[in-house]
């Protein structure tokens, strides 16, 4: 009787310790990884981004399919489709000339004037506080793009995909040309939307004004932006051929 009870108790004890070891090892190591709390979120965003990319592709596929269909019906009717194709060629030419910045553009939009602050600096204050920097300019441009700007220029320099804006002492270099204050940024697009994004609550224009810089936005319906004039013959890049092989594990 006494022996029997002892054995039962020891059995329970052993079982308890055993199970607690298992629980412990499970929660501490086995099935968990230690990651930063935002990793899960990042995965979600990346997946969402890829989906969005797919949507864009599907739209383009539909467009291409419609085009192909149209050409095929014309071909079936024994029409001469070279006329059609030529028309499309010149239409494309005009469109991509605008997209690449090789032609002047006109349209409604905004004109933004940014200049160094006119206030006196306080004792010991860094004069940089009231000067316009390259960072200010490309943040404004970025803001305009986010608000749907289609074509942008800074002091008459068309902003294209390779346009850099860099401070170099007293001047700012844009597309390899030198400019000094004041800076006039013009953008074609939805004027009121672009203006609101700059001078609305939390807009970058307000931030600059708070520092004492001069910042003016005017909505205009006759913005004219000149073509990109610098040489941009590519030296390093060539067109990748269409037989692009899909590489496993390569993300982008």
């Amino acid at each position: 009787m006494r022996n029997g009870l002892k054995i039962v108790l020891i059995f329970i004890l052993c079982a308890f310790i055993g199970s607690s070891v298992i629980v412990l090892s499970k929660t501490v190591k086995g099935l968990h990884v230690f990651v930063s709390s935002k990793v899960i979120e990042d995965y979600g965003i990346t997946i969402e981004g890829e989906r969005k990319d797919m949507e864009n592709l599907v739209k383009q596929i539909e467009e291409a399919k419609a085009q192909l269909e149209e050409l095929k019906t014309l071909e079936a009717e024994n029409e001469d489709i070279s006329q059609e194709l030529e028309a499309k060629l010149f239409q494309d030419l005009e469109f991509y000339k605008l997209a690449a910045g090789f032609v002047d553009a006109v349209g409604p939009g905004v004109e933004v004037i940014v200049d160094d602050g006119t206030r006196d600096i306080e004792f010991g204050e860094d004069p940089n506080d009231i000067l316009v920097h390259d960072m200010d300019l490309f943040l404004i441009i970025n803001e305009l793009k986010a608000a749907g700007a289609e074509v942008i220029s800074v002091n008459g320099q068309r902003i294209v995909d390779t346009s850099a804006i860099s401070c170099s002492g007293y001047t700012v270099r844009i597309n390899g040309q030198f400019y000094a204050r004041p800076f006039i940024i013009r953008a074609i697009g939805d004027g009121s939307r672009m203006a609101a994004s700059l001078i609305g609550p939390g807009g970058y224009g307000n931030y600059l004004k708070d520092w004492g810089l001069v910042f003016k936005v005017s909505i205009r319906d006759d913005i004219r932006i000149p073509a990109y004039t610098e040489d941009r013959t590519p030296k390093y890049m060539t067109i990748a051929t269409d037989d692009r092989t899909v590489k496993e594990g390569e993300n982008n």
């Binding site: 020891i10 004890l13 629980v23 099935l31 990884v33 230690f34 990651v35 930063s36 935002k38 990793v39 899960i40 979120e41 990042d42 995965y43 965003i45 981004g49 890829e50 864009n56 592709l57 739209k59 383009q60 596929i61 291409a64 030419l93 005009e94 469109f95 991509y96 000339k97 605008l98 997209a99 690449a100 090789f102 553009a105 006109v106 490309f138 943040l139 970025n142 793009k145 986010a146 700007a149 289609e150 942008i152 002091n155 008459g156 294209v160 995909d161 390779t162 346009s163 850099a164 270099r173 074609i188 939805d190 000149p226 590519p234 030296k235 390093y236 890049m237 067109i239 993300n251 982008n252």
Partner: protein, 251 residues
């Protein structure tokens, strides 16, 4: 009788010791991991799997698109006359399309990866992504690459074209209106030495990102990089092209 009453006490003692040990192990483990939190491997695996699946799906769609494009091209080549005027127009179109960023391109250049700092004991982070909040660092990085003569740039597969924005929208950083998240892979085609040199200059952008923000940045020079085309739909609703520009002054 004496023996019998001892056993429950030993039992209780073993229980307490066991609990203490397990609590100790748990807390010291979490301590060592700084700001990291434990997440079931299965959940991470499932997400990884989901991402792979979406990417595979996208590749399939891309392949379909490329095939359609090829067929269109064939029809064009078959039917367009080979007179010099048309041929030069086609050449010019290719040049414009390349500059507009709607063609896949390849060439030598650099690949830069930027990731958030690893959370540590002293600096556990606040659950927000440093590089996403300071997306202006990405902007500055891209600007430096352009300044160093980059001819084509992409961030996480999004081609940088004239109207590309990098903006913080809610919790996302949108590029070409597509949500992106770290780690960021930035590819740039150009002179690899110039590109790398411009970024790694003392007190330059990369040093700033590493030292002031604790970001993990790496740069690799490559013989050949492929950069994808702009995937979105290009459309001009406001801007209209106009020829001849001589009367406008520089401003």
């Amino acid at each position: 009788m004496k023996n019998k009453s001892g056993i429950p006490i030993i039992f209780a003692l073993a229980l307490v010791i066991g609990l203490i040990i397990s609590i100790q192990l748990n807390t010291s483990d979490a301590h060592d991991q700084g700001g990291l939190i434990p997440i079931p491997i299965a959940q991470v695996d499932a997400l990884e799997q989901q991402l792979k699946e979406v990417r595979r799906e996208k590749e399939a769609i891309l392949a379909e698109y490329l095939e359609l494009e090829q067929r269109l091209k064939e029809i064009e080549e078959k039917n367009l006359s080979d007179d010099a005027f048309i041929q030069s127009a086609m050449k010019e179109l290719e040049r414009y399309r390349m500059a507009a960023g709607v063609l896949d391109v390849k060439g030598p250049g650099v690949i830069i990866t930027v990731d958030d700092p690893i959370p540590t004991e002293e600096n556990p982070g606040d659950g927000y992504s440093t590089i996403m909040i300071r997306y202006d660092l990405l902007l500055a990085l891209v600007n430096k690459l352009k300044d160093a003569g980059a001819e084509a740039i992409s961030i996480n597969g999004q081609r940088i074209i004239a109207k590309t924005e990098i903006s913080l929208a809610g919790d996302n950083v949108n590029i070409n209106t597509v949500p992106t998240a770290p780690p960021y892979t930035i590819k740039a085609i150009g002179n690899p030495d110039t590109l790398e040199g411009a970024l790694t200059i003392r007190y330059g952008i990369v040093e700033n990102m590493r030292n002031n923000y604790g970001l993990q940045v790496s740069i690799a020079k490559q013989e050949e990089i492929e950069i994808p085309r702009y995937n979105g739909v290009l459309r001009f609703l406001y801007a209209k092209p106009v020829e001849n520009s001589e009367e406008e002054d520089a401003q």
